[in-house]
Symmetry: C2
Subunit: 333 residues, 2 copies
């Protein structure tokens, strides 16, 4: 084979892939194909776009693995049919709203400076600044992507069916993790904590999922607001990665204090292996934290173990959330 | 396996890969590793960057396939060693200067509108506007990437060693194609045509490559300037894709008129197969033309055949430039 510049070329041009999938989602190309518009002419009419534009975009989407093409007709792949057809219950087109939000893309504008300084180029504290509106967008757009890990989490976390179980969901966002626990266990009551604007989204979701009567909220910053006490479970889902270890430990001490004596902290995170380069999605996540926060990271299990231990926890266990590409840590008081 | 959101997530976030490789090239990470700075601490010092930033970037580059990591030490892959170490003769780090130039990235800012309208969102005529300075950047930065296809082209095109061979290189850019022919055949004389600013780069290259005495220039637009006549070969390298077929045919008639009676037009292009979705690099190239030109495209061989035929050419042949991911068309007067 010999050396090839293919990967370099692909990677230098990768921003074009991001632009193409965004356009395809915004134009609702996948839904159009699902509904039978399979040629570029039919799709152009259905999606109100030029045939030339649709033809070139759909050929590109085929090259990129999102469509199959046969005799000039485009067909959805299995992934596209499940996740990109707007009529599918697992539709996740909205993830582009968050993952390609102007604020987040701006954070990647000058990675050279970011790597030189070792911190975000964003003003204030990047995405973790107080009441940053990006988290309302996150709550609205990322819920479909969190549905699967939330359900797998709810299967793994054991709940005593014979008593009321109090759950505190810190930085709840869309609220899907607490909601998934409440849906599975009728004796679970959830207190969701987040900025007020974000909690509106979580409340809507609790309503939709039929658990609103066991879902209450506590507005404010996880670092400042009173948690209450005697929780059986405190959920920390995709939150700790925003901060450095000392800040995490400060928060975990507060969590420890809010737990009942047999309570557990349940952490969902992208946890890379100790080599920090596998599995790919958890390991690659670290770059997003470098770009968008002052000192966040994707921590390894041993790093989490140490933080929980310093905060007083007895022991921590690592679980996989497969097929979702994330990990779960259960830490015992 | 079942459906997975992995490809969607990867593609929505692909712009981050582009940002990461750019930073790595600008910080000269690959050269640093080649010179023995293999830990994040050593590299941080060598590249004048923060250790935290370098560690996260290098882990990400490992996930992306540009590095290998063992026991905390980073090593170059074969591709990185050949193409991304600044001391390598095949170094092509400069390609980011063109492929991620602000003008080109701007053209991908709103692909939804581009697909709706079927043409570039850039003002004027996009990248093909008169004297657009992007082509000086192209000439300076893309030469290393064109070295290999230029040399393969020069092997394929047969040259009569017993007479003076006049070559016209239209929109010569860096000039590498004409230069490669002149290097291989001492009886080849090249006339390079392009905007004056671009020709300065081509002249520098001809000088460096030792063929300056058989290299002359003709400044101006390929559509307006006088070509002269009796050329044995007219080179059309990565030029026709910027225009629609009628515009190409107008140009090809002019090329036909400038050729000797047994002359050949030699076209280097990304030529997708008739299905337009293979091979991936040639097929994917079409999107760049959609985004950055009024009506350019990656044409199939049958489309090129038709254009050359309409311009008067007798017949055209398709050749592969493998291992370079491009194609060659020889058209006979």
């Amino acid at each position: 084979m010999g050396p090839s510049p293919q990967l370099i070329f692909d990677t230098v041009n990768a921003y074009q892939r991001s632009a193409a999938i965004k356009a395809a989602i915004e134009l609702d190309i996948f839904t159009g194909i699902a509904e039978g518009a399979e040629t570029s002419a039919e799709l152009a009419q259905k999606c109100n776009a030029s045939e030339r534009g649709v033809r070139i975009l759909c050929d590109y989407l085929t090259v990129a693995g999102f469509l199959n093409k046969q005799d000039g007709r485009y067909k959805l792949t299995e992934d596209s049919a499940v996740f990109l057809n707007r009529r599918s219950p697992a539709y996740m087109g909205s993830v582009v709203d968050f993952l390609q939000s102007p604020m987040l893309m701006e954070a990647f504008k000058d990675m050279t400076t970011t790597v030189r300084t070792g911190t975000t180029i964003m003003p204030d504290e990047g995405t973790v600044s107080a009441e940053n509106p990006i988290w309302i967008k996150f709550a609205r757009s990322m819920a479909p992507m969190m549905m699967m890990p939330a359900q797998v989490m709810a299967q793994i976390v054991e709940i005593d069916p014979n008593k009321k179980v109090k759950v505190l969901d810190i930085a709840a966002g869309h609220g899907m993790y607490g909601i998934a626990l409440a849906q599975r266990h009728p004796n679970v009551e959830v207190v969701a904590l987040d900025w007020p604007g974000v909690l509106e989204v979580a409340k809507e979701n609790a309503q939709k999922m039929g658990v609103a009567d066991r879902f209450s909220t506590r507005p404010g910053s996880a670092f400042d607001v009173e948690y209450g006490n005697d929780y059986d479970i405190v959920l920390l889902t995709n939150f700790l990665h925003h901060f450095d270890p000392p800040t995490c430990e400060t928060l975990l001490k507060k969590v420890y204090g809010a737990l009942a004596s047999d309570g557990r902290a349940v952490t969902v995170e992208f946890v890379p292996n100790e080599d920090r380069v596998t599995p790919s999605m958890s390991a690659g996540f670290s770059l997003i934290m470098l770009a968008s926060t002052p000192s966040g990271d994707a921590y390894t299990f041993s790093e989490f173990q140490r933080m929980f231990e310093h905060a007083g926890f007895k022991r921590s266990e690592l679980h996989q959330l497969a097929p979702a590409p994330a990990q779960l840590i259960i830490s015992y008081k």
